[in-house]
Amino acid sequence: MRVLPKTAWIRMFVAWGMMLVLVGITVGIAVVFPGIGVWHSALNLLIAGMLVFLVMFFYMHLESSPGLLRMMAGVGFFWMIFMFTLGLADYFSRIYHG
């Protein structure tokens, strides 16, 4: 029987705690301060990005993965951002010009 990697376990628990705190903050922003308008949406999306990063970094072990895997993990998101940018540019420009 091999020894469990204690520091890795502690890191994982710390990451989990951070995620729970971030979920609490994002819900707090949306529910307690919805009056801050567009800022609450921007903050919610920013925190979602942080949560996704934490999940990928710790639960999907990107922290200890080689560069090729890290790049592959980013590629899906890169193409999605590409799709959103081009697609939304079309929608926004149509609204803009009436």
């Binding site: 990697p5 994982m12 729970l20 949306a30 919610n44 999306l45 592959m72 959103f84 697609g87």
Partner: protein, 215 residues
């Protein structure tokens, strides 16, 4: 001539190389999954941009409190899954099994709560694709229908992925119980762990965009 371990497939030189290929393959698969969810998210974002007030009002029909707890449960299941991967790497059979069963329990909790929310949605009359299931009385019911269709498509697709994840976890729990080839289990559990964590990623995005941003 060097001899390879039995579990290394013919096309690989070493076990490390094989594991890297396994993981790269899984990441490529998850990139395609990102695009699958991404198409739906894009449709939702575009429609939200066109009808912001109607979508925001329609979102108030959803149970953000229930899903807040569900989000915490799902993130906790991600933790137990990641710990199971550590446990199997340390060849701790029963600890691995315990953590897998805990992950399954959290997954079942999430899906049950989701089912309860769907039942609630039906009684609130916001299920557009069921006969007699839609009698929304808020702002512009026909356009609000779009919001509810996106809501069910995204959460339904997520629940479908979770169900597949649960089946994979059950298989992993069974294989861990048998404990025939622990080294193979390390690789298998890492791949299933990627999939389970991707489910977390998808849910975080759904919860933020459907439940929180429109509030």
């Amino acid at each position: 001539m060097s001899t390879k371990p039995e579990q290394v497939k013919v096309q690989f030189e070493t076990l490390d190389q094989q594991q890297s290929a396994d993981r790269l393959g899984m990441w490529i698969f998850l990139a395609t999954e990102t695009m699958l969810f991404g198409g739906l998210f894009f449709g939702y974002t575009a429609m939200h941009t066109l009808h912001p007030q109607i979508f925001d009002k329609a979102s108030h029909e959803l149970e953000w409190q229930l899903e807040f707890i569900n989000t915490a449960i799902l993130l906790t299941s991600g933790l137990t899954m990641a710990l199971a991967e550590f446990a199997v790497a340390a060849k701790r059979r029963w600890l691995t099994l315990f953590l897998l069963i805990l992950t399954l329990f959290f997954g079942a909790w999430f899906l049950t709560a989701k089912g309860i929310e769907y039942l609630d949605d039906f009684s609130n009359g916001i299920v557009p694709f069921v006969a007699g299931g839609y009698h929304y009385s808020g702002l512009q019911p026909q356009i609000a229908k779009l919001f509810f269709n996106f809501y069910f498509a995204l959460t339904g697709l997520h629940a479908f992925h979770m169900s597949i994840g649960m089946l994979l976890l059950m298989l992993m729990a069974w294989l861990t119980f048998r404990w025939r080839d622990p080294d193979k289990m390390i690789r298998r559990l890492r791949i299933v762990g990627f999939y389970w964590a991707f489910i977390d990623v998808a849910w975080i995005t759904i919860y933020t965009t459907i439940y929180l941003v429109p509030r």
